[in-house]
C-alpha cells in the first residue's frame, strides 16, 4: 500500500509542475495567436531559394 501513497504524491507533483508550465507559457505569449501554427507548419517549405536570404 505504501507504493500507492508514493504514486499519488508523484502524480500531484507532476500535475503541479505541468500547471506551472501552463502559466509560464501563457506569460510568454504562447497563446496569443492560436490560429497561426496550423498554417505556419505548412508554410515553412522553403521552396523559393530567394525568399529567405535575409533571415
Amino acid at each position: 500500500m505504501g507504493s500507492l501513497f508514493f504514486l499519488i504524491i508523484i502524480s500531484l507533483v507532476a500535475g503541479l509542475a505541468v500547471f506551472c508550465f501552463f502559466l509560464y507559457a501563457g506569460k510568454n505569449k504562447q497563446f496569443d495567436d492560436i490560429e497561426g501554427p496550423k498554417y505556419r507548419m505548412l508554410d515553412d517549405d522553403d521552396d523559393d531559394d530567394n525568399v529567405r536570404e535575409n533571415r
Binding site: 500535475g15 502559466l23 501563457g26 490560429e35 498554417y39 508554410d43 523559393d48 530567394n50 525568399v51 535575409n54
Partner: protein, 806 residues
C-alpha cells in the same frame, strides 16, 4: 505586350483577386491574363516578380474582391513605433485586406525580403503585424509602401489591449486553471466511483476525498470568482441570473462535500468543479467570438484626419502640421479636397463643394464660400479652403452627436437574455423544492443534519452544466455563420435581440440608395460622334459626384490635360486636343457656349431640373454637346429586401434627413409604399425609434453620422460597410457587403439560432428536472449527477452545431 482596356464578352475572373470581371477590364492579350482593375494587375506582377507566385496555389477560402487602394502616410504611424535593442525600430500595425492564410504568408515573406527589415511576424487571429527594421537601411514610409503595394492597407495600432482582448485573456487563464484541476480531480473521483461499485478501503476513500477537496478549492475560489461577484451584483438588484444558479449549485456542492468528509457521506467535489469548468468554457468561447468581431469592426474604421495644417498668424504662406487635438478655437486651418474638416468653423478664404451627406442625409454637395459655416467631419470635394475654427474638440457638432450616442448607450436597458429569463423562474422553484424536501424529511423523523444534507443535494443536482454551453455554443456557430454570409454581430445579445425584432427602420441616403449619383437620362448631340467618350474622359478627373456619374457612362478613356475643377460651377479640360466643358447652365454661358442653339437639349434639361434631378450640361469646342439628368439611384436588392421583411410581417419605415419629395421619388422608383419620416434631424430620428410601440424590438439600418444616435437607440443598429466611423461604432452589427438582402438572411439565421438556444436550455434543464425527484427522495448519488451532466452537455453541443446546416 498588348494591353486593351475595354469590355470582355465571356465571363472571366480577375487573375489576381478572382472577382468576376464586369463591364471594364484590363486584358493582357498575349499572356492570356485578365484583371478587373489596374490595381490588381500591378499587384499580380509584383508578386510574380518577387518569386512568390506560389501565393496563388497556397490560397484557399479566398474571398474574391478587388485589392484595396490604400495610401499610408508615415505620419499617422508615429505612435505605432518603438525602439528595440540592436538599434532597430519595431512597428506594430493592423493590416486590413487579409482574406486568407496565404495573405499572411505573402506579407511576412515579401516584407522581410526588403533590405533592412529584420523580422516580420503576423498574428493570424488579430491580423496584427510586428515589423522590426533598421532605420538606417529602410525608412518607415518604405516599409508601409511595401505593404500597400502588395494590395493591403496598414492601419495604425498602438500596443494597447482592447477590452475584448483583456476579457478573453482573463477567461482563458481561469478556464485553463479550472480545466487543469478538474482533470486531476476526476482521477480521484473515478477511483471513488469504482470504489462505490467494487468496494474500497475506508482509509483510501477518506484520503481521496481530502485530495479532491484540495483540488476543487482553487477551481471554486479562483476560477469561479467572477460568478460569485456577478451573482452578488445581481442579488443587490434582486435578480436571479445564470451566475446565481452556478453559485448555488457549485457552492452548495462544495460546502456539502466538505461537511460530508467529516460525516463520512458521499462527496460532490467533482460536480462542483465540473459546473464551473464547463460554464467557464462557454464564457471563454463567447469572449473569443466577441474579440473576433471587435477586430473585424476595428479594421473597417478608416484612418482619421489626426493631423491638421494650421496657418501661422500674420503670414499667408507658412503653416505647421499639428495633431487635431492641439487645434485651438480661432486658429486658421486648411482643408484640402478629398479630406474631411478637422473642426467646425467659418470659411475665411477660398470656396469648396462640401459633402455633408453624413450629417444631413442630402447626397448633393453644398457649395460654400467665404463666410459660410462648415462642420467637422464633412468632406471637401473640390477646392481648397482656409477656415477659422469656431468650435474644436468636444464642442463640434460631430462631437455633440458622439456624446448623445454615448448617452443613449448608457441609458439603454440591458436585455435579460433568454437564459437569464429561464433561470429567473427556475431558481425560486428549486429553492422551494429544497425547502420542502428539508421540511418533509424533518417531519418524517430524520435528524436535522440528515434532512439538511438531502435538501442541499437537491440544490446541487438542479444546476445544469449544459446551461453554460447552451447559449455560447449557439451564439458562436451563429456568428461564424453570419460573418461568413457577410455581417458581423458585435455580441450574442444583438443576435437574440435581432431574432425577436419586428419593426425595421431604414435610412435613405447610402442605405436604401447608393448614396451617389447615377445618370438616369441623357441627350447627346448627334454632331459629335465621340462626344460621350470625350466628356467622360474629362469628367473622370473630377471629384464632384455628378461628374463621376458621367464618367461611369464609358469604360475607356482618353488622356485629359489641363484639367480644372471649378467649385459649384463645373470642370474643364483638354481631351484629344479638343476643349471639353462640363457644368451648370450658367457655367456654360460663362464659357461662351450658345445655349439656344439646341432647344431639345436645353428644354429637356430644364424639365428634368424641375422634376428634382441634378442636371449637368456639357460642351465640346464651345458647342453644346449633351445634357445629363441624374439622381441618387436605389441600391440593388433594396426593394427585394424590404418586400421580404414585410412578407414576414415586419413593419418597415424610412427615416431621412432629405426632403419628402426626394424620398418619395426613390420609393416610387423601386415600387414600394412604406411610411416615410422626411426632413428630420439626427436627434429626431432616435426620438421616432424611441416612441415606437416596443423600442427593444426595433432595427435601424444606416450609414451616416446623422444615423448614429438612432443606431444606438434602436434594439439593433446595423451599419453599412461604407458607414462612417461613428455609425460603425454605435451599431450592434456591421454589414461587410452593402447588400440589404443580407439583413433578411441574417434575420432568418438569428431566428433559427434563437430557437436552438431555447431548445438547448429546455433540454439542459430537463435532464436536471428528471434528477430532482431522485434527490428529493434521497436516492441521488454523485455517479448519477455526473452521468446527467455529460448527457445533457453532449446534447447541447450537437444541437448547436445544427445552425451550420441551415
Amino acid at each position: 505586350m498588348t494591353i486593351t482596356y475595354g469590355k470582355t464578352d465571356e465571363k472571366r475572373r480577375c487573375a489576381h483577386c478572382e472577382s468576376e470581371i464586369g463591364a471594364s477590364c484590363v486584358d493582357e492579350g498575349d499572356s492570356g491574363l485578365c484583371f478587373c482593375c489596374e490595381g490588381c494587375r500591378s499587384v499580380y506582377h509584383l508578386i510574380k516578380g518577387e518569386g512568390f507566385s506560389s501565393f496563388y496555389d497556397k490560397r484557399a477560402d479566398w474571398q474574391a474582391g478587388p485589392v484595396e487602394k490604400a495610401d499610408a502616410s508615415p505620419e499617422y504611424f508615429e505612435t505605432c513605433i518603438k525602439d528595440v535593442p540592436g538599434g532597430l525600430i519595431e512597428l506594430t500595425v493592423v493590416i486590413s485586406g487579409i482574406r486568407c492564410a496565404a495573405c499572411i504568408w505573402l506579407i511576412e515573406n515579401s516584407v522581410s525580403k526588403e533590405k533592412g527589415v529584420k523580422n516580420v511576424r503576423m498574428n493570424y487571429a488579430s491580423h496584427k503585424a510586428r515589423i522590426q527594421f533598421d532605420p538606417g537601411l529602410i525608412s518607415l514610409g518604405d516599409v508601409l509602401k511595401k505593404i500597400t503595394r502588395l494590395g493591403y492597407c496598414p492601419l495604425p495600432y498602438g500596443d494597447e489591449e482592447t477590452v475584448q482582448d483583456r476579457e478573453r485573456k482573463d477567461y482563458f487563464y481561469r478556464f485553463g486553471t479550472a480545466a487543469f484541476f478538474t482533470m486531476q480531480l476526476m482521477i480521484y473521483s473515478a477511483a471513488l466511483y469504482a470504489g462505490y461499485f467494487q468496494g474500497m478501503d475506508e482509509s483510501f476513500r477518506r484520503l481521496f476525498r481530502v485530495i479532491s477537496w484540495f483540488l476543487a478549492t482553487p477551481v471554486i475560489f479562483y476560477a469561479g470568482m467572477p460568478f460569485f461577484k456577478n451573482s452578488l451584483k445581481a442579488l443587490k438588484n434582486r435578480n436571479f441570473t445564470m451566475d446565481t444558479l452556478v453559485v448555488i449549485g457549485s457552492g452548495s456542492a462544495y460546502l456539502y462535500s466538505v461537511a460530508a468528509i467529516f460525516t463520512g457521506a458521499e462527496t460532490y467535489f467533482d460536480t462542483s468543479a465540473m459546473i464551473i469548468t464547463l460554464i467557464l468554457l462557454g464564457r471563454f468561447i463567447e469572449a473569443g467570438a466577441r474579440q473576433k468581431s471587435g477586430n473585424a469592426v476595428r479594421k473597417l474604421m478608416s484612418l482619421r484626419p489626426s493631423r491638421v495644417k494650421v496657418l501661422l498668424p500674420g503670414n499667408d504662406e507658412d503653416y505647421v502640421v499639428i495633431p487635431v487635438s492641439q487645434l485651438k478655437e480661432g486658429d486658421l486651418f486648411e482643408v484640402e479636397s478629398g479630406f474631411p474638416a478637422a473642426a467646425d468653423g467659418i470659411i475665411e478664404k477660398g470656396a469648396a463643394d462640401m459633402n455633408e451627406s453624413m450629417l444631413t442625409g442630402e447626397p448633393e454637395p453644398v457649395h460654400k464660400e467665404k463666410g459660410a459655416e462648415i462642420f467637422a467631419g464633412t468632406k471637401c470635394l473640390t477646392g481648397v479652403i482656409t477656415v477659422r475654427a469656431s468650435a474644436v474638440g468636444s464642442e463640434t457638432f460631430l462631437s455633440k452627436i458622439a456624446a448623445s450616442v454615448e448617452e443613449a448607450q448608457e441609458s439603454k436597458a440591458p436585455i435579460q437574455d433568454v437564459a437569464d429569463r429561464f433561470v429567473g423562474r427556475f431558481v425560486p422553484f428549486v429553492l422551494c423544492v429544497a425547502a420542502c424536501t428539508f421540511a418533509a424529511w424533518l417531519i418524517a423523523g430524520d435528524g436535522f443534519s440528515e434532512s439538511l444534507m438531502k435538501a442541499v443535494s437537491v440544490l446541487v443536482i438542479a444546476c445544469p452544466c449544459a446551461m453554460g454551453l447552451a447559449t455560447p455554443l449557439a451564439v458562436i456557430t451563429a456568428s461564424s455563420r453570419l460573418s461568413h454570409e457577410g455581417i458581423v454581430f458585435k455580441n450574442g445579445e444583438a443576435i437574440e435581440r435581432f431574432a425577436s425584432a419586428d419593426d425595421f427602420y431604414f435610412d435613405k441616403t447610402g442605405t436604401l440608395t447608393e448614396g451617389r449619383m447615377t445618370v438616369e437620362k441623357m441627350i447627346i448631340s448627334q454632331k459629335s460622334k465621340e462626344a460621350l467618350k470625350l466628356i467622360a474622359s474629362a469628367a473622370r478627373k473630377s471629384k464632384h459626384p455628378a461628374s463621376k456619374a458621367v464618367s461611369f457612362l464609358e469604360d475607356a478613356y482618353y488622356e485629359a490635360r489641363d484639367f480644372a475643377d471649378i467649385p459649384a460651377k463645373g470642370a474643364e479640360a483638354r481631351v484629344n486636343g479638343e476643349s471639353v466643358v462640363i457644368g451648370s447652365f450658367r457655367f456654360m454661358e460663362e464659357k461662351g457656349v450658345n445655349m439656344s442653339s439646341q432647344p431639345d437639349i436645353t428644354e429637356n434639361g430644364e424639365q428634368w431640373k424641375q422634376g428634382g434631378m441634378t442636371v449637368v450640361y456639357s460642351a465640346v469646342n464651345g458647342e453644346l454637346a449633351g445634357v445629363f439628368g441624374m439622381t441618387d439611384a436605389a441600391r440593388q436588392g433594396a426593394a427585394d429586401a424590404v418586400k421580404a421583411l414585410m412578407e414576414k410581417g415586419c413593419g418597415v419605415s424610412v427615416l431621412t434627413g432629405d426632403s419628402l419629395n426626394a424620398a418619395a421619388r426613390v420609393l416610387e422608383n423601386i415600387g414600394l409604399k412604406i411610411p416615410v419620416y422626411a426632413g428630420i434631424s439626427p436627434f429626431e430620428k432616435s426620438e421616432i425609434i424611441k416612441s415606437s410601440p416596443n423600442p427593444a424590438k426595433t432595427v435601424m439600418t444606416g450609414d451616416g453620422i446623422n444615423d448614429a444616435i438612432a443606431l444606438t437607440a434602436a434594439g439593433v443598429g446595423i451599419s453599412m460597410r461604407e458607414g462612417t466611423d461613428i455609425s460603425i461604432e454605435s451599431a450592434s452589427a456591421v454589414m461587410l457587403r452593402s447588400d440589404l438582402n443580407l439583413i433578411v438572411k441574417a434575420y432568418e439565421i438569428c431566428r433559427k439560432s434563437l430557437r436552438i438556444i431555447k431548445e438547448n436550455l429546455f433540454w439542459a434543464f430537463s435532464y436536471n428536472l428528471i434528477a430532482i425527484p431522485l434527490a428529493v427522495a434521497g436516492l441521488i448519488h454523485p455517479v448519477m449527477s455526473a452521468a446527467f451532466m455529460s448527457v445533457s452537455s453532449l446534447f447541447v453541443v450537437l444541437n448547436s452545431l445544427r445552425i451550420k446546416r441551415f
